[in-house]
Symmetry: C2
Subunit: 346 residues, 2 copies
Amino acid sequence: MGAESDVSYLTTDKVAVMGAAGAVGSNLVQALISTGTANTVAMYDPYGPGLEGAAEEIYHCAFPDAQVTWTTDAGEALDGAAYVLSSGGAPRREGMTREDLLRGNAEIAAQLGQDISQHAPDAKLVVIVFNPADVTGLVTLVHSGLPPQRVTTLAALDSTRLQTRLAQHFGVAQHRIVGCRTYGGHGQEMALYKGAIQIDGVPLNDIVNAGSQANGVGLDADGWQEIREHVLGGGARVIKLRGRSSFQSPAHLTAMMVRAACGGEPFEWPCGAFVTGEPYTNVMMAMPTTLGPGGVAWRLPEGDADERAELDAAYVHLQHLRDETIGMGLIPSVADWGSVNRHLAG
Amino acid sequence: MGAESDVSYLTTDKVAVMGAAGAVGSNLVQALISTGTANTVAMYDPYGPGLEGAAEEIYHCAFPDAQVTWTTDAGEALDGAAYVLSSGGAPRREGMTREDLLRGNAEIAAQLGQDISQHAPDAKLVVIVFNPADVTGLVTLVHSGLPPQRVTTLAALDSTRLQTRLAQHFGVAQHRIVGCRTYGGHGQEMALYKGAIQIDGVPLNDIVNAGSQANGVGLDADGWQEIREHVLGGGARVIKLRGRSSFQSPAHLTAMMVRAACGGEPFEWPCGAFVTGEPYTNVMMAMPTTLGPGGVAWRLPEGDADERAELDAAYVHLQHLRDETIGMGLIPSVADWGSVNRHLAG
């Protein structure tokens, strides 16, 4: 049986999963262990009975060599954690925008950052999964005291939803759609970079702009706009179909981010990164990134003028959300970040 | 990114997951693919919107080289399937026993068996996950026309719950508890074979009967009885704690059964097997089993007189459930099984 076999995990470092009684968190624990990514997992949630029930389910899986604990004490879960993964915000309900969640979840993020600062100051990677992730990730970073490359967000879902929709439109297997990438914010503020997209080897731009076909199917500008709208509504659509917000895909993709950070297979989807310099500075946004043992490294994406304009607009929006959060008193003014997190000084 | 990497799966044969909109089924699809077990999955559920939502979540995971379809047509899902995994019964609610579900789920099982007979007559393995699994598995087998070694049930959960509870009692890592096995029925009808159980290398029988200790902890007969009761109530306890019946552990363990059937790591927990001969015949029950490409092979367990008495009692109970199902007209009398499934003749 599993419990008696030889198995190996990419890391035996402690992984703290915050919000582990929830749908994303409990799935994430299962995903981390079952994919052989991590075996040492501390499950935290303020809701004790649900947490114990979720932990029991993990125990009943009888994962070989797993070391899984659960606690309603965030500090205990975080103590010495190398990886901190948090889906522990309030979930988005049907009709809510990510921004509706801003204040409540930014408060949770601020507390998480402070807890990380106190209990997990050597964390190798923090992944924030709860919305609006660009802001909650930033707030966590500021308060955590960690170097910016150690804090990221789940930012892949818009891209995988785009890949999904293109596969459906062209009737080709999903893995034959490559290069789908959205950057900047999420939802209405995503910047859709389509220059690298190929369908069965045919550049999407050739299809939309020059009438080429893939698998005998074309796509005109209106059709492309419809696909774009479909992707923008991807999260809301899952809620409508399923009666609950996405949980399997965020959990799985977060586990894959941890794999990459542990030196496993590369994670080539966009991740959230704290950007500084020109033209974007002092926000967290989805960018072309590389995840590895050193954390998250970002670079500017290559796109055309329209795509850059979308990214610029996303940046303006993210600055606005950041400043709103500053106005709420949840993080200091940018000039004062260094007083909370020395890695963000000047 | 995942979609562009080289990956391999244990099987590329078609796997039909019935009840794929449900909590067990949707988790099972994710588990099959994310563990590299299977990449070709047909998701079936009568509830279309929930199914589409569950399928979208799987697509949004962007599993490399996955071929996942969804349909509300059971025949389409089963057509040519090599593996058929069904959690598609009505779930057990708080306060319900497995037996309360008998009629409704046995009807579903009869239809599934007929559908398999028509659409997947060459199935390599059918795993029935919905309760009461000993009966639904038997009903499916009779109607499927498959050889008995090709139909099994998830029967591991009582054993993994026992392992969990012993780990908690003795304060040792779960994988240091080996040999936990329950056979026969489930819940009140499980036969708990404890002769092979060791805690950190110490036989449980030495602890309970001779006052030995493991990790400095003992266990007397009353304490052992409490653990046994705890295991018997394991499923109800998850429902109470979590507000829903177990779904992660049944899904994960079912995926591990498929792995073993595909030639992957052995699955050494008990599985349901159709038994014939002496002393047990013409029921499906949890037994010591080996799963492999040839299906499920069973043998009689070795136990003491008390354990054999428990297994005898489970057998009597399972005969009763079988006969109740016959009385409902959902399967023919035992003597007539051969007219429906030639592999069960005489």
